[in-house]
Structures are given as structure tokens and as C-alpha cells.
Symmetry: C2
Subunit: 140 residues, 2 copies
Amino acid sequence: MEELKEKLKVKGLKLTPQRRATLEVLFNNQGQHLNTEEIYAIVKEKCPEIGLATVYRTLQLLDEMGLISKLNLDDGCSRYEFNNHDEDHQHHHLICQSCGAVIEVELDLLDQLEEAIEKEYRFRIKDHKVKFFGICSNCD
Amino acid sequence: MEELKEKLKVKGLKLTPQRRATLEVLFNNQGQHLNTEEIYAIVKEKCPEIGLATVYRTLQLLDEMGLISKLNLDDGCSRYEFNNHDEDHQHHHLICQSCGAVIEVELDLLDQLEEAIEKEYRFRIKDHKVKFFGICSNCD
DNA sequence: ATTTTATTTGAAAAGGGTTATTATTTGAGA
DNA sequence: TCTCAAATAATAACCCTTTTCAAATAAAAT
């Protein structure tokens, strides 16, 4: 939360109760992949006067600041998750093509690939998004 | 194109001029990442009577059949590219955060990671989508 | 503590990509 | 050729997201 205040100040932006509450919802629901409407519903419990447009604006902002990440599951809406900064990189996602489950993978193991890319394409990698599609252990 | 006819027949679907033309557009524009409107505009040259809704339906169908792949660049629309079946896996994308360029990477090097995931999570991987964000050589 | 000012918000409208509807047409097997 | 399920074109509907704008507010200046 202090990090949010800092990053906002740098850009001349304000720390409002709405922004605070929205970030808290993401923080308190790690491991889930809430979409904007779902986040809106939860934020409203603590912050009943908040508008949906504000939630959209705030999520966009938090994503740009790197505090949360947008996740696209091709279900017609954007989903978000809190960025746990204990890790260097974003975790990966396993998406079951049978039941739709979304599993988080803490393994990274992309160093070799990233090194090869940086060398071969002279591309400075800052971040990545990796999704694997297949069949989860429950469905197999 | 024969592959399309085969896969359609299996599902009891028909090979129409519209579907043929749409797949040809993707085939003839490999390396680009056309969105639906752009594809529509090109298809219209050869197939002027085609409707936009048909293009949407066809792209969805071709994606499901694995002949093309949807690509999400977070620019508010879906983009598609022809699947070159010479390779086993989808290629990766490098996305420049400065100029927006999208570069295709033929390196794979995910075997090690995929093996670890299959073992650790008992998840049978069928496909993957990998995006790297950073600064391309032109912008650096 | 007030004042000031640029930022933020809520509500509602507008936007824009995508999907659904429906009558008509058509591919492909019988 | 005949038959019929599948596909199409046109357009309306959908729905997620963004914009608009007047009112409210955080935070710095006084």
C-alpha cells in the first residue's frame, strides 16, 4: 500500500479510498482471477458508493504501475491478479481445456530462452506472459 | 487447403468460397498480425459479397480447428495468423513496449519447462502462448 | 486551519468489437 | 437432380469498456 502511495506521488496522482480499496481486494483474493464486475462487487462491500467506471479506471492504472496484472482467458472480459513482488517474474498459467481450471505455476525456467532471445534478437526483455493449454490432473 | 476440407468434412461442415478465401488471406499474409476488419477488407477483394459477420465466424472456426491462431495484443481487437505446421509448437512473440513492433521468434526452448510442468502438476500440455515484453533493437 | 487547484469520482451516455437473429442461399451427399 | 442441413448477408442486439461532465476531493500552498 505504501508502494502504491509512492508510485502515485511520483506521477502527481492521488491516493483515494477507492484506489486503496480496489488494490486491497486484489491483495485479499490472490490465487483467484477476478474480472472487473467481480472486483466491483467485492469493493462495493467496503466502499458502497464506488462506481463501476472508477473500478475500470483504477484497474487500468494499477496494471500500468505494475502492481497488478491483466490476464486474458478469452472469455470476453479482462481478469486481474495481484503481483506478488517476492518473485522476479510473473508466474505462468495452466489452462485446462476440459474444465477451464486455471492453475498457477511457480516454476520459471525461462532464463535459457530469454538469454537466447536477448542475444539472437537483441531484444531487452522486461516481462513475459506465458500460458499453457492442456488437460489438468483432475480431468485426465 | 486440403487439410481444411478434410477437417470440415469430419465435423459435417461445408467448404464454402468464403471459408476458402478467408484462409487464403491468412496464408498469403504470414508474418503480419491482421485483425478481423483488416482481414475482411482483404477478403472482399476476391470475395466482394462476403459479410463481416461471416469473417468473424470463419476466423473463430479456423482457430478452433487449429489452422490459425488468435493473438491478443491488448489493442481492443483479436488478431490472427496462419499456423505453419512445419513447426510443432506455436512461435513466440516479442512485443516492443516502445514502438509496438511485434516480432516472431522461432526459438522454442520450452521443452525443459514443459517437462517440469507435466511432471510437477500432472498437466498434459497441448499448446502454449508465450509473449515477451521489452525493448526491440531499433528502439534501444 | 483555509485556500487553492489539479485530480478523481459517479452517473449515464457513448463507443466499438463481437455475436445473435432470421430469412435466404448453397454445398454436397443421396 | 433432389434434398436438407449448414452457411451466408444484413442488421440488430449484446456487452465490456471508455468517455463525458459537473460535482467532489486529496494534497500542496498559504
